[in-house]
Amino acid sequence: MDLIWDGLGESIRIIRTGDYSVWEIAVRSILVSGSATAVALLLGIGVGSLIAFNQFPGRNLAFSLVNTGMGLPPVVVGLIVAIMLWRSGPLGELRLIYTPAAMVVAQTVIAAPIVMGFTAAALRNLHPQLRSQLYGLGASRLQMLWLVLWEAKLPLLAAVMAGFGGAISEIGASQMVGGNLAGETRVMTTSIMLQVSRGEFAPAIALSLILLALIFIVNLILTTVQQQERRS
């Protein structure tokens, strides 16, 4: 039990003092996962809308692929992205391997299908005549898209939560394509794994507490927005 209580006490001291670069690591995690979530939102909402709104051969297959993508194992994503970005790989000339950008790419691949799936489900749940009604009111295609997305904003907020949660909590892909380089590509999950492997539980607990607090705060904000929208 001492291990736990001592670790917790020490972790709070680390959070207060910023030892082990915990705050620098936390900020990098937010930037990397936040960027990945933003790109995933653009891609996911775009592709999710296309799948939800258009009838085309293979639409059911597209839905199945998106649903499969929602459960992609991060290590598999990491492996694929690493091969693509490896110096001798197809995109090696971009020199992205072991950079935060590579981690953004990998986390985007993990988060985008989640956003796509949530978006497609949210838009399919809207009234099937809503788009016709908006066009009938004189909406252009862009105005229609904006209004239906706004109408589906509550489930889309869930997509943001799920996408960000998926990105910031994955470890396999970030480790593989980022390399966990101190001061460069070390994020909370990879750092926690490293500290535990070294037997340094206090900084691992400190980073875990920050990670949990971060996910809680993001979800609290979005849930509050959802509740306010529902009440209005």
Binding site: Q129, L130, S132, Q133, G136, L137, G138, L147, W150, E151
Partner: protein, 363 residues
């Protein structure tokens, strides 16, 4: 005669191999209310969406003021307004919803507010302006839906069964308000319904749609009194529908002038004078030879007329009479034989005041 505002020429709409709409020719005349009536699955909604430029026909052309719409769909849609059966309001305030179409057209906020306020007032929902649209009742939502459409000052208004999900009292109130708004604005209107009473009440012309095709177009009286075929007849009912003018009303008993003949009808809900439609089911008409000195029925109405046509329909006989207005009676073959009636004979057609259904025109 009015010019066509919207027209279809050789229009076909297909879903896969099935042809769900096939309309060789249809004109919606400027300023008229054209009611498209037909059973469920007749293709009415697809037809309306095609007219509203929300569906591209698989074949054929849609004309707006006799010009092809191609490439001008958005601009033309902004000269029209569509009201569907479901109000489809957005998760915003009622006022924002009513002003939504104006906002999409880039109308300045002050004008939006003014027009929205006017039409919310007209449809009796001004007190709901600040309420979230998701918290109002179905009837109130449909009022907001109508206000949203009228706020656009559309040149063409297209309504797809807007009252079919509403209860009878709510529907009656909304019908009155819609009827007033249509009369005051004179907007060219296409109204889709499966309800005959709505068609009779609102329509200048009625188009009967069945199996994806327009089977008959004409005035309400023409379409309901003289269906072109058995299928249409089965749908609209074989009824006597004649225009009349209310002469007097006492204790719910209306006396109506129908082409110079006085018809009495129980019409307790009638509260104003003017033009009415007198509807009478043919099976409610009793015939007697005119040679009889007294009437054997207690009915209030006894019209003298001449038999113009007799048609046998199985065990029943359809007798067309000229009583001033044309009247159709449905009697048994046995009765016809017992009375020894034939074409050219004079008869007295009797029917009860309670059997007469009176619909105010433009109420």
């Amino acid at each position: 005669m009015s010019q066509p505002k919207l027209s279809l020429r050789d229009v076909r709409v297909r879903r896969g191999k099935a042809e769900i709409v096939k309309v060789p020719h249809l004109d919606v005349l400027a300023g008229e209310v054209l009611v498209i009536i037909g059973p469920n699955g007749a293709g009415k909604t697809i037809l309306l969406e095609t007219l509203a430029l929300l569906q591209r026909p698989s074949q054929g052309r849609v004309l707006f003021e006799e010009q092809p719409v191609d490439g001008r769909e958005l601009a033309l849609r902004r000269r029209m307004a569509v009201v569907f059966q479901d109000p489809l309001l957005l998760r915003r305030s009622v006022a924002d919803n009513v002003a939504m179409g104006l906002r999409l057209r880039g109308v300045p906020r002050s004008v939006r507010r003014q027009k929205a306020a006017h039409w919310m007032d007209r449809f009796g929902i001004a007190h709901l302006a600040g309420r979230s649209a998701v918290t109002i009742s179905g009837g109130e939502a449909q009022r907001a839906n109508l206000a949203r459409a009228f706020a656009l000052d559309p040149e063409v208004l297209l309504l797809d069964e807007p009252f079919s999900a509403l209860d009878q009292p709510t529907r009656e109130g909304l019908l009155d308000d819609l009827s007033d708004a249509l009369r005051d604005t004179g907007v060219t209107t296409v109204f889709v319904t499966h309800d005959r009473a709505e068609a009779l009440r609102l329509g200048d012309r009625v188009a009967v749609m069945m199996g994806g095709s327009i089977r008959q177009v004409g005035t309400a009286a023409e379409v309901f009194a003289a269906p072109v075929d058995e299928e249409v007849a089965a749908f609209v009912g074989v009824e006597n529908i004649v225009r009349g003018r209310l002469q007097s009303l006492a204790d719910g008993l209306a006396t109506i002038d129908v082409g110079g003949v006085a018809v009495q009808a129980m019409a307790p809900s009638l509260d104003s004078g003017g033009e009415v439609l007198v509807c009478l089911r043919p099976e409610d008409v009793v015939l007697e030879p005119a040679r009889l000195d007294s009437h054997t029925t207690s009915a209030r109405n006894h019209l003298r007329g001449t038999i113009r046509r007799i048609t046998t329909l199985g065990g029943q006989v359809r007798v067309v009479l000229d009583c001033g207005p044309t009247l159709v009676a449905l009697i048994t073959k046995q009765s016809l034989e017992d009375m020894g009636l034939a074409v050219g004979d004079e008869v007295v057609a009797s029917f009860k005041a309670t059997a007469v259904h009176v619909i105010p025109r433009g109420a």
